[in-house]
Amino acid sequence: MTARILLAEDEEILRMLVLDALEEEGYAIDEAVDGLDALDKISTNDYDLVLLDYMMPGLTGIDVMEKMRQLRDKEALKIMMLTAKSQKADQERARQAGADYFLAKPFSPLELVRVVGEILHDK
């Protein structure tokens, strides 16, 4: 079954980057441009993985994640945070809020591909 991925990222260029990186992996990727958009999509669709930007206008990634977790638990949905914040404390906060994985910007797209593959493969 094709894995469904939701990409929540406000910067268009970064969305392009991620999409292009994951292009050949055969995933079904939906885009959300901010937190509200992401939550909206989560509630209506099933995804296997959410790639979530930390700093977004409106709801922050943490808020979104908490709300997502209310809708979907860890088993059902994996969440990976993409963020410029790389401190251990931030990672910890993210994990507590419900993130499963953490990827710091700038990230290597190849690395992204590899990690996503691992996540979805494990599923």
């Binding site: 910067e11 970064l14 441009v33 700093m55 206008p57 700038p106 797209p109 190849l110």
Partner: protein, 820 residues
Amino acid sequence: MTNKRVTRCIANQFKLYMGLLICAILVGIGLLGFGNVWLQKSYQSEITLLDQKSSAALAIQQSMNGAVPEFRGYLAYQDPQYVGRIKAKQANAEQAIQRYLNLKPLTAEDEAFVTYQASAYRKFFNQIVPSGMQLIQEKQFNGAAVQTLQQQEVSFTDQFRLENNNFLQTMDNRTTDLRNRYNRENDWLVGSFVAYLILIAVSIGYLAVRFAKGIGQPLRLLAFASQKDQEERIRDLPYDERQDEIGYLTKSLKSMVERMQTNERRLIEQNDELQAQQEELISQQDELFYSLQKMQEHEELLEAQNRLNSSLVNTMDRNALLQSIIENLLQILIADIGAVVLLEAGYPCATVGIRPEMRDAFVATLADGILTRVVEEKRTIVVARDATAADKGYHEEMIKIYDLYVPILSHDGVVIAMAVLTRLGRPFHSESHVQAMALAKQIALSIEKLHTYEASERDRVLNQEIIDSIREGIQLFDEHGFVQQVNQTWASWVNFDFQALSGEEATAAFFASIREQVLQAEELILFIQNALQDKDEGDEKQIYQLRGEQETIIQVYYEKIYDPRGIKRGTVLVHRDITREHEVDRMKSEFVSTVSHELRTPLTSVLGFSELMMNKELSPDRREKYVTTIYSEAKRLTQLINDFLDIQRMEAGQQSYRIAHVDLLRLAQEVLDQWGPNTPNHRLQMATAIPAATILADEDKIRQVLMNLLGNAVKYSPGGGDVWVTVRETEWEIIVDVADQGLGIPKEAIGKLFSKFYRIDNSDRRKIGGTGLGLSISQEIMKAHGGTISVDSELGAGSVFHLHFPKQGALERKQSLALV
């Protein structure tokens, strides 16, 4: 008692005499009684004899007389009964005569009587009666013989009776005589007894006189002499030779008197001595009294001085001190009215007994009057003057008034005050001067102390004001950890009034207010306690937050305070409101984090696309797209870094501007021209009402501002439209407006518009790029030029940004006009 005494003892004498007298009297009485009795007895016997004789005589007579009628009756009636009765009578008569005869002794009269009676008897009874009887027997009743016999009888009887009567009479007389004689003798007896008594009485009188003389008088004299003040007379009494009580008494009295006199002499001597001692004592007592009086005066004086001292020491209120000084001075120096005045600004003074108007006059004329002399001479001066009517009051005669001026000198000899004490009618003597100067020294000390206190009070108040005016919160704790002072700033932060409290109360209130108002109360309290207890293990600073709507962050540090000897005096806690700093720091860290985020994003795309390009087979279009993206992102990165550096520099005040004359019109046109080709959807136009607009500015920076505004206008009107740039002027400013017909700005965003990285959140805008620093930088630039940037906007309709440039020399002109 010896015989000598017995005979000489007055009492015994007296007893003797009295005894004798009593005996004499008794004897007399006895004699009298005896005599009386004897007399009576003899009289009685005589009388009895007489009575018996009388009765015998009477019996005779009666018998004889009784016989007569019987005889006559017989003669008459010849009844033999009469014979018996005559016989009886005869017998009686015989008996009687016999009886009479037995009554011995018989006097001659008695003899005669008896003889007569016997003869009568014989005559009658032996003659007459028998004759009668014979006759009768012869029955010669009424014969001549009878008659003769009758006549005989009658004459006999008459004579008999007569004789008897005479005898009886004689008997009576004898009785009477006897009686009289008895009475006489009795009288004589009584008389002699009376005489005897008189004799006795005389003897008694004599004895009494003798006693009186011998005893009474001496006694009287002795008694008299024994009286107070008469003792001398005892010596004159001659009775000591006597051997009786009087003598004894006299002797003993004399010796007593002598003793007494000796004693008296001794006592007098002693008395004199005592007198002398007493006089000494009296004089000592006088001295003591005098001393006591002096002491009392002294004590009163000391009391007044004490009061003065006490008020000098205790009173820190200037007016109360002055009042107390003058009141006590008045009392100590015994003056009637007075005033004391400090020689400093305003001449504060206190008076007693002076009307306010007079006081004001006094103060006003102070410098002109005696003050100068007092200051020069630096000693007390007395001025005497005549009393005015007002001063005199109700005194009639003219009295003098004495004013004592007392200078009060400081320790370095400067006259700092002056007291004036006035006595009405009584002068001041030298001791008053001395006293006044001594008091003046004390007063001077206290005034100096008052000055010091006032100065230190001013300092204290000043310090308190300083501390309260400091915007940091300050607490001072003493060495025991009690709150000594809490400044106003802190009090207002925790909304508590500490002014009324001190010591334990204040400390408790302080910690209570922390618990109430501080979010991290226990940590702060722990910090403070560590600070107070000299525990250096903790941090020296602590940060905490106050409760409240606004976020207030306070940083506290402490310092220990030591006195010059190195002993810890207390601890000072200083609380700084670092809310702004904190905010700034937070904003900075937020800024940094935002910047880093902003930087990473384009960096991610640059690195990411580069990596994809290096590791993937891509179509040329794809490659073209990636390269373009990399380029633009790199540029974005550059722009970001430049803006970032700009804003940092500007905020740090390190931006330098090259000021020159700038033609705004020309510059605006240039910018429009630059943008023009890149904005096909927009019409960029310029309008101006003024021919020229020259300002002093850094041209590049102004260009940057214009570029920013224009860029925003274009960016934020994605649907295209007109963009107007207008240049106009007011009296003080040149204003450039940049107007667009774009998305507009919501009202709530306008306030934050010029803050860093602020980009309005909504779905329309997120597409729009930019660093979010443009307006901040523009604002900084405008500020640096003395101008402002502002905006008017209507959501959905568009926005107008205004740049206000001050005209050359505008500021100076404004200022000069303001002065006018």
